[in-house]
Symmetry: C2
Subunit: 507 residues, 2 copies
């Protein structure tokens, strides 16, 4: 495992365990504007028209009461809420453009918004797979392993949910064990699911305990995040809205993410799906700001398309890349942090998984995405978390991070002296300029094998997926639990035990 | 195989043979400027200083005579030529910014330069591999198969060299059989190797015959291209320079490509390697323009880095992506067409091959690369042409081509009526807006499998590499030789036979 320090890339403890140190990543390049400002305005205007004319269903009476009190137009007999354009623009304006997400290890605290880019571990997969064990239902043992893998990889800036659903834990108390394990096995931020108010309140308390801070400090320092999906088209359900209310009141970040699959839950055109995404996102963000003006929110984009022959969702497609880029333009228009994802529909951690993920990763980077959900380990359109994909993703994200390092063009980098020293028809292997730099000149891979064919063949001819298999095994073998104050650990255990006794979050 | 027409994506004749029709591709987005204008000027200025102070070795006396006559400073006793900055700027100015590359099928004629982007079949691999036959030395049977695959795939705009070296053909007459097979089995442009004047002259004549045009028409219509590599650092060898002279005199395009591996044949810094690349490229282009002012040339970039532990070249790295983007900025500064490549160092057509290629493909697209060499089939840093990688690449390039299609944002695309029709909490599968568009709404993959895990497993659980294996076999089984006028075929055979009798290009 890499330690922070002067020569992190040389800390090799076996195959492919070299990795750059943990680093808060900044995108130094101008964002890629795939649409013109006029086109972005057209999407913006259409989405405001949707909110004013058609509106959005808010299925929680408490949410409708909050919105009515704030001045939105709530249908007397139903769930429908309509929004005046000025109301929307005014409400979303109170959301911060950038905020700090605190980790229990302060060195892992990150910034969400502006030019910062963060990669999160896979979240919410119902299944899990690896080359040895095949595909199986989510369970707590794999859950803990994947949290540990996230902790071990410096490119995993964030925990982004339950990496797999631990279905072997009872539903009423699952969140207690799951969030506590997140706190124990990794030193990053925490994540809670917006499945009603009780679970979120428990997650907030676990976060407070794990960080060893007061309630007041936690309120001032966002440390736990959640994703709230619209029940697209144009609807937010009750448990999710309860989560929004609890999170907003505690000043913890909410990532509002419509799930707008073009052709299924959204119009079949990418532009139309984005109109709907934007309407849903703005409605959710405006609602959170009504609950607690100034609370941290993230504009989430998850517009992809379906295979129209089968209805199956497709990910990492050209349409997904475009939608991700346009989502970034919309989020920038509102000066909001932006979330997108590293996605693939592949059933195996293979070449398809790699190229669909690369389509996503490039789109995220060019879009100036601030929070890349499902950064490591997502497979099968989210139906499976894969150990090998986790390592493939780590390599792809490390490469993108290296790409985002600014390039030196000072006199030393231009190397005129070296070119003079070597002259025509020779080579640079022994040049002073080379010898002074060779250890740190280039990105060192975690997974890629650059040896020649003969050496690679003699060493077993392992393809990238099989090498990934060896790497995650070695990382787990070397894993060390991050230190936690014994008093904190005790308080954490006691809280979980007490809440279990109380029955957790039944129903 | 896809026919041009209204429903090309539905022309399925088996697994994954749907493909979009052949199309001249244009990049509608602004190029990605990874360096500032000042940084580009610093590289430009340093490279002109290299040309003025250090100079470049031209190992062919005839080339030095041409340069001396044009006003370059040729060292009396050696091979060294130095260039005044004004001389370089003036000479490269005569090169066209965009030109037409004619194919024997006029529908396959393409444009090189400006915003056009073209993908070429792999060139010059010494080995070839597929899942059935494993890895073997290049040979004429595989050569012909790979040309046929290129012809079969609409995303392969160009033939980019011998896909594998047919080492079972005698060296003196190999070029005759190889270029004639290129002419027969595909309907694209042709390619000749700049290995002395004779081989180029033979390739030019085969091109003229295959196109059925006069010498004068061929001179007016570039139809054959070649790549000339600098023998980096700062040297051009004799046979290559003979090739430049012959190609330039016949007004056929020359892609001048320094092979500047940072840390080996170029400085270890990316900026330094680009200074050298730029110096070598400008020297080669200026030379070609001295031979025949106005002849078509392409600015080639091939700057990557080596693994400093082993000296092995690495491809598709973060450094390669940066160098490719900066190369595009330099080429645009000179208003020259730009060549880069789709590269990987992977030994297998696996996930590494996919993500390294995607790093390259995205860099090429963002750089506004006009000629993407090794677009389909390159593996092992160019030491092997892979049938399966050919299909992986076809999918990745098709996806990039779909990404480069502009997105509609007119009222119809914004889909307000559809959103109104469906309303909250429903779905769009049956909406009129959906039904009118579902057949052509989205990119349809060649290789990607979007079926659910269960269906995919029942169908054999083939990963992308094994599916690629089935696809190339199906494409070759369906291959039909493009029609050629019997008179042309006869003339072609007669020319090859006569030149073989004469001994070809001995020595």
């Amino acid at each position: 495992m890499a330690r922070a320090g002067r020569r992190p890339r040389r800390d090799r403890a076996g195959i492919g365990l070299a990795q750059p140190p943990f680093k808060r990543l900044r995108n130094p390049f101008p964002p890629f504007e795939i649409l013109s400002a006029d086109q972005i305005e057209a999407i913006h205007a259409a989405s405001l028209q949707v909110l004013a004319e058609i509106g959005v269903n808010f299925l929680l009476p408490e949410a409708r009461a909050i919105l009515a009190a704030a001045g939105a137009e709530v249908e007397p007999a139903g769930a429908r809420v309509r929004f005046d354009p000025a109301f929307v623009e005014e409400r979303i304006r109170t959301a911060p453009g950038v905020f700090t997400l605190h980790a229990r290890n302060p060195e892992r605290t990150t910034r969400i918004g502006a030019d910062w880019i963060n990669f999160a571990v896979v979240g919410s997969a119902p299944n899990v797979s690896d080359l040895d064990g095949g595909r199986r239902m989510g369970n707590f043992a794999d859950y803990c392993n994947l949290i540990k893998l996230g902790h071990s990889l410096n490119i995993a800036h964030l925990i982004g949910g339950y990496p797999v659903e631990p279905v072997d834990l009872p539903p009423a108390t699952r969140h207690l064990d799951a969030v506590a394990a997140m706190a124990r096995y990794a030193d990053r931020n925490l994540y809670g699911y917006a499945l009603g108010a009780v679970r979120i309140r428990d997650a907030i308390e676990i976060t407070r305990i794990a960080r060893g801070v007061s309630h007041a400090q936690l309120l001032a320092e966002p440390s736990l995040f959640t994703v709230v999906n619209a029940n697209s088209p144009l609807q937010y359900d009750g448990p999710m809205l309860e989560g929004v209310i609890e999170m907003a009141r505690h000043n913890q970040p909410i990532v509002i993410t419509p799930f707008t699959l073009a052709g299924a839950m959204a119009p079949i055109t990418v532009a139309g799906a984005l109109v709907q995404q934007n309407a849903e996102a703005l409605a959710g963000i405006a609602f959170a700001q009504c609950v607690n003006p100034g609370c941290p929110v993230v504009y989430g984009g998850f517009t992809s398309n379906v295979d129209m022959r089968t209805g199956a969702p497709a990910f990492g497609t050209p349409e997904y890349a475009k939608a991700t880029l346009i989502g970034g333009q919309l989020a920038r228009r509102y000066r909001l942090p932006y979330r997108a994802s590293n996605v693939t529909a592949s059933n195996a951690p293979d070449a398809q998984a790699a190229y669909e993920s690369e389509m996503s990763i490039w789109a995220c980077a060019l879009a100036h995405c601030n929070l890349v959900k499902h950064g490591l380990g997502w497979l099968e359109g989210g139906l499976c978390a894969s150990y090998e994909k986790f390592i493939l993703d780590a390599e792809m994200l490390q490469m993108m991070a290296a790409f985002l390092e600014p390039l030196a063009t000072d006199a030393d980098a231009l190397a005129l002296d070296a070119i003079r020293e070597v002259g025509p028809g020779s080579h640079f292997f022994q040049a002073a300029h080379t010898l002074a730099r060779y250890e740190h000149a280039f990105y060192t891979p975690l997974l890629s094998d650059w040896r020649n064919f003969e050496t690679w063949t003699e060493d077993g001819a392992l393809d990238a997926t099989r090498r990934a298999h060896r790497i995650w095994q070695a990382l787990l073998a070397e894993y060390e639990e991050p230190p936690m104050d014994p008093g904190v650990a005790e308080e954490l255990d006691a809280f979980v035990a007490r809440r279990k006794e109380e029955g957790g979050a039944p129903g």
